[in-house]
């Protein structure tokens, strides 16, 4: 089998389990929240590593972010990534998904030839799921989303399963292409001792906007058609009613109330 070149795109996100609200100011407490690799991207990386294991190919991990993201990229080396590239420049700040896809596409073009780009299905901070398809468009290559299994991959060809609302579809694409993956696709490995040693010594390549020949008008805030005009904390005002008694009494009073609300079963 021919060696395949895989690129995995990852994003730094806040470790969301730590999201806590400040009850006085009604805002999110962000201090002391650790930064992690977007959980969905770890499945993307694992899938890339599995293809590498099978085809003795190469995995390059790319991210766009602030300089400290380099530390997270080193973690991917510990897992088995061969190379890591961080796109970091003030010109990238404030990028929406369009400007992010543009910057990533320019970084990928600089990397040269590749067979498959893998992204997580979405990032846990923004939840947009837009960068994968948008990146494919910028590179003018096909894409497919919500991939739960790669059935076959070889030079120029991939057949994979895409999750849908009702089940899944089997999709064939020519390569190079972009896929975004769901967590069902695999179980990510843990870093090996050897990998951790390698990560310690590894260098993360850092490229600026100029390094990737990016047009600064298309990067960051300037290159972002969307703008956030307001943020606010949603108010959930729910009048909860607790139902008392034995399980039988509780069940009876719930069904009473639901019949009162004109509840109908869906049968």
């Amino acid at each position: 089998m021919n060696k395949l070149n895989i690129i995995v795109c990852v994003k730094q996100v806040p470790g969301t389990n730590e999201v806590k609200m400040n009850k006085e100011t009604n805002t999110i407490i962000r201090e002391g929240v650790e930064a992690i690799i977007n959980p969905f991207d770890t499945y993307a990386l694992e899938e890339g590593l599995r293809i590498k294991d099978k085809t003795s190919g190469k995995v390059t991990v790319m991210s766009m972010g602030i300089p400290t993201v380099a530390d997270l990229l080193k973690e991917t080396i510990a897992l088995g990534a061969d190379e890591t590239v961080l796109l970091s420049d003030r010109a990238f700040a404030g990028a929406d998904t369009l400007a992010t896809s543009y910057a990533l596409s320019m970084g990928i073009k600089k990397l040269g030839s590749y067979d498959l780009i893998i992204c997580g299905k979405q990032a846990t901070d923004g939840d947009t799921a837009q960068v994968g398809p948008s990146l494919a468009e910028k590179l003018k290559i096909p894409h497919s989303t919500y991939i739960r299994k790669i059935e076959e991959i070889r030079e120029g060809y991939i057949r994979c399963q895409r999750m849908t609302e009702d089940g899944y579809e089997v999709i064939e694409m020519s390569l190079p292409a972009v896929i975004t993956v769901v967590k069902e696709i695999n179980e990510p490995r843990l870093p090996s001792i050897k990998g951790m040693m390698r990560a310690k010594k590894a260098n993360v390549t850092v490229w600026t906007a100029d390094d990737i020949n990016a047009d600064k008008n298309l990067c960051g805030l300037r290159g972002s058609p969307t703008q956030v005009v307001k943020t606010f904390v949603p108010v959930h005002e729910v009048q909860s009613e607790m139902l008392e008694g034995t399980p039988q009494e509780q069940a009876k009073s719930l069904v009473d109330k639901m019949i009162n609300m004109q509840f109908k079963t869906c049968k």
Partner: protein, 397 residues
Amino acid sequence: MASINIQIEKCIGCKICIGSCPFGAIKVEDKKAQILENCTMCGACVSSCKFEAIDFKKDEVAYSYDLASYKGVWVFGEQVGGTPANVAFELLGEGRKLADNLNVQLSAVLFGDNVEEAARTLISYGADNVYMVDHPTLKLYNDEAYSDIFVQLIQKYKPEIVLLGATTYGRSLAPRVSSRLNTGLTADCTSLEIDPDKKILLQTRPAFGGNLMATIICPNHRPQMSTVRPKVMKAMEPDKSRVGKIIRADVNIPEVVSVKVVNVVNNLCEMVNLTEADIIVSAGRGIGDPKNISLVEELAKTLGAAVGASRAVVDSGWIEYSHQVGQTGKTVGPKVYFACGISGAVQHLAGMSSSDTIIAINKNPDAPIFKIATFGIVGDVLEVLPALISEFKSRLG
């Protein structure tokens, strides 16, 4: 380049701005605020400062768009097998309001094979026009072919607003289209409004797992594109007597595509599609043992409901991932949601808190799920569920 700066002489170090920053990118040192490197220039802090000490300079964007030439509201009429998805009707309901507000027409966009009947249905749900591309190669959803045709239509007819359902297909098609058009796209909007002065679309969506809502605009690019989750907007009652125009759109259907759907497997047909379900019964870790899933399934069967699950249950391997509700699973908004033994982590709530009625059953009276529940039952799920099943069976069976 855009910049954001603290005007030191105005800053009193009150720290209010710190809380307003969704990215933790402000710190206060020596009673003066500082903007840190991880600032994304979202501008959320600017209005929080009572002393006008935050100076936000946006770029003057030079754009070549003739914004006024873009008119009308479009809705993607997603269909499978010739039947429009419910979310298309919901978007038409919402789109109708936006179009009336702007005094423009509402149109649906429909791709498929033999879909004229579906086009008439879309009109009965509020569309003034349906731009239809009816062709055998469009029978199954295809990212490449669909996005290509969609872009051609937008370039030709220039709508100012384009809405798509935040479904598997919509969330794949929308970014592909917006990226080719180099316009903005806002995902998973929960509220859409028209700014009364500027007549632009105000798109509000949750971020950070629903902890924060953000209102987003796309002021200088057209069309303004949004995806909206199923069950968020309300469809109008269909009216078969409504009159609308079906426009057989003249487009080039790409002959060679590099993406092909070779097989469709609907293995979830036995149960109701979670995202479209009106009633969902969900299992959490509180059910204690995988064999107790059967209790949840029995209640679901009794009610004609779909079965959901928390992440903990899925991660333990008790049920398949396709059942997972929450931030990393599916977002649902049924009429009634039963949370059985689910404590209500914020990530789970993010996926179901828009349900109309929430019924929570949990041993722990302090479980966060009770804060958003319409009805709460403190008790052992394993005792309450059988009681509920027999009560529902005897009263509504």
